[in-house]
């Protein structure tokens, strides 16, 4: 039996209570809406890309603790990275959250490793992946919105 504290780690609760980069970004180069129709989580992710680099990233929206914390941690992790690095991180995080045998060691992912416990809660995985799918869409396509369906 997994423990509740594996899911709601202090770090996750801290990001939920005080989400980082929780703001509008009028000069964003991309703004994408992410929607989880199953539970109503809704966020808008902003990125400002210049010279192949994610100069700024922020989000607004409503959602559960896991989706808000995941988005908040994403903004901290991705800012300053190149687009390629950010995309690689998406792949790694997706794998960490959805795979039974993730390739990456959560310990190597820094604070993002705190989200690893979500894997034990199949009903909640989409909460954690929402912001990452939204980031992927922002970086790799022209779509204006994405859903977790």
């Amino acid at each position: 039996m997994s423990e509740m504290s594996d899911l709601y780690q202090e770090l996750i609760l801290d990001h939920k209570r005080n989400p980082r980069n929780f703001r509008d970004m009028p000069d964003a180069t991309r703004a994408v809406d992410g929607h989880n129709p199953l539970c109503g989580d809704q966020l808008r992710l902003f990125v400002k890309v210049a010279d192949g680099k994610v100069e700024d990233v922020s989000f607004i929206g409503v959602g559960c603790a896991i989706s808000v914390a995941s988005a908040s941690m994403l903004t901290e992790a991705v800012r300053g990275k190149t687009v390629e690095e950010a995309q690689r991180l998406f792949v790694e995080m997706h794998d960490l959250l959805t795979s039974d045998h993730p390739r990456a060691d959560p310990a190597d992912l820094g604070s993002l490793g705190a989200l690893a416990g979500v894997h034990e809660y199949p009903m909640r995985v989409k909460c954690a992946t929402l912001s990452w799918h939204t980031l992927d869409t922002a970086l790799t396509s022209d779509e204006e919105s994405v859903t977790t369906e």
Binding site: M4, Y8, L13, K16, L38, C39, G40, C64, A65
Partner: protein, 415 residues
């Protein structure tokens, strides 16, 4: 909080004895005894229903209304006996008025599709703002096909229908009023007797979505004088996959078939097909025979209970749950109608319903988190989702205590 004020109530209902009829309730979840508080989503099945399903497949499995062999005869007899049980349960005049379908959703789709064929562009159907999506979307599909107009009875902040608005919605082109008997998201019991009477004054027939009503209220379609009544077996302690449409015989007789196939015909040639009479005309294909038999058995089980005592117990559960939950800091109950089934929808400051659902699950408490397929209700209350504890006669006051305690814990942890 003072324990003296909220001491656990007692009543004459022997809940522990009834619980023993439901094998699933005896299990542990995450190390806690299961407290199943998601009965508005689906109810648990008494042993009698499980045994009826098993018996059917073990001894009588055969197709119905065909075959002259012994098994076919037994299957047909039990299937039609189940129809008679349903007729008795809702007090329809004739079993010809009882159509077996997959569930409430299919029953409403049947009416929208078949009764809807008689509707023309500009004809009007009245719905309400507290409908389940199952009583919204079929009418929107019909609107796309034919250009009907949908009118909506609004709701008040307490979660009741704003009946002052109803008279103004009837017009010369109103063809049907389709509304829920009991709200699945709010628990509200609508005053359908008055609503039906008002509709009939305008010669408008009424369809009731009874999915949430039949487990909690005695339904008498003749006393109600409703024209269609839809409900699901699985919310009535029966199997999934079986549901019922009651239809007033005169209306059903005039309606075209819903689906074509076997069972629903009298004769078929490539030139012309003649259709079977009621209710087979609306039951194309092999029906869910075991499901119908299981539903019949569920009804017999309910009839064996002291219904008055069961309903008194449910009323006490609702009162107790409302009191206990209202006392939880930061908690707001959504839907405070004067008449409710034992269902409490709520939100908590700073705790999203999905986090709530996960935390409660870890304490063995099964509740529903989400929009409850009633997104217009969520929009009205400006919440993305709610948590919903919905009870049945087998729930206990102790389970409510556990829920209230876990809610306090969730708030301490997340807020």
């Amino acid at each position: 909080m003072s324990a003296a004020i909220l001491s656990t109530p007692t009543d004459s209902w022997d809940v522990e004895r009834v619980r023993r009829d439901f094998p699933v309730l005896g299990q542990q979840v995450h190390g806690y005894p299961l407290a199943y508080l998601d009965n508005a989503a689906t109810t648990q099945k008494p042993r009698a229903v499980l045994e009826a399903l098993d018996h059917y497949y073990r001894h009588d499995n055969s197709n119905v209304h065909r075959g002259v062999h012994a098994l076919a005869e037994r299957a047909t007899r039990d299937f039609e006996a189940a129809r008679e049980s349903v007729r008795r349960f809702v007090n329809a005049r004739s079993s010809r008025e009882i159509v077996f379908l997959r569930g409430t959703t299919e029953a409403i789709n049947l009416v929208a599709s078949s009764f809807g064929q008689g509707l023309r562009e500009g004809d009007e159907v009245i719905l309400t703002a507290m409908e389940h999506h199952a009583n919204i979307v079929p009418w929107q599909l019909l609107r796309e096909r034919t250009g009907i107009v949908l009118r909506v009875v609004p709701i008040t902040p307490s979660g009741e229908l704003d009946l002052d608005a109803l008279p103004g919605l009837f017009g010369p082109r109103t063809r049907l009023l389709a509304l829920t008997h009991v709200s699945n998201a709010l628990g509200t019991i609508n005053p359908i007797e008055d609503i039906i009477a008002a509709a009939h004054e305008h010669d408008v027939p009424v369809l009731l979505d009874g999915a949430q009503a039949v487990p909690h209220l005695r339904v008498d379609v003749q006393a109600l004088d409703c024209d269609f009544y839809a409900f699901s077996g699985h919310k009535l302690f029966g199997p999934t996959g079986i549901g019922v449409l009651y239809g007033r015989e005169r209306l059903l007789e005039a309606m075209p078939p819903y689906q074509g196939g076997g069972e629903m015909i009298r004769t078929v040639s490539f030139e012309k097909t003649t259709f079977a009479g009621l209710p087979q005309r609306f039951e194309a294909g092999t029906p869910d025979i075991a499901g119908a038999i299981g539903l019949g058995r569920a009804i017999e089980y309910l009839e064996s209970l002291d219904w008055e005592a069961a309903m008194a117990h449910e009323a006490r559960l609702l009162e107790y749950a409302t009191e206990r939950l209202q006392a939880v800091p930061g908690l707001r109950i959504i839907g405070q109608a004067g008449a409710k089934v034992p269902l409490v929808s709520f939100v908590m400051d700073d705790v999203h319903p999905h986090d709530m659902g996960t935390i409660l699950d870890h304490r063995g408490l099964a509740v529903r988190a989400g929009h409850h397929c009633a997104m217009p209700v969520m929009t009205f209350y400006q919440v993305p989702a709610t948590s919903r504890a919905s009870m049945a006669f087998y729930n206990t006051f102790d389970e409510i205590d556990r829920l209230a305690e876990a809610l306090r814990y969730a708030r301490e942890m997340l807020a």
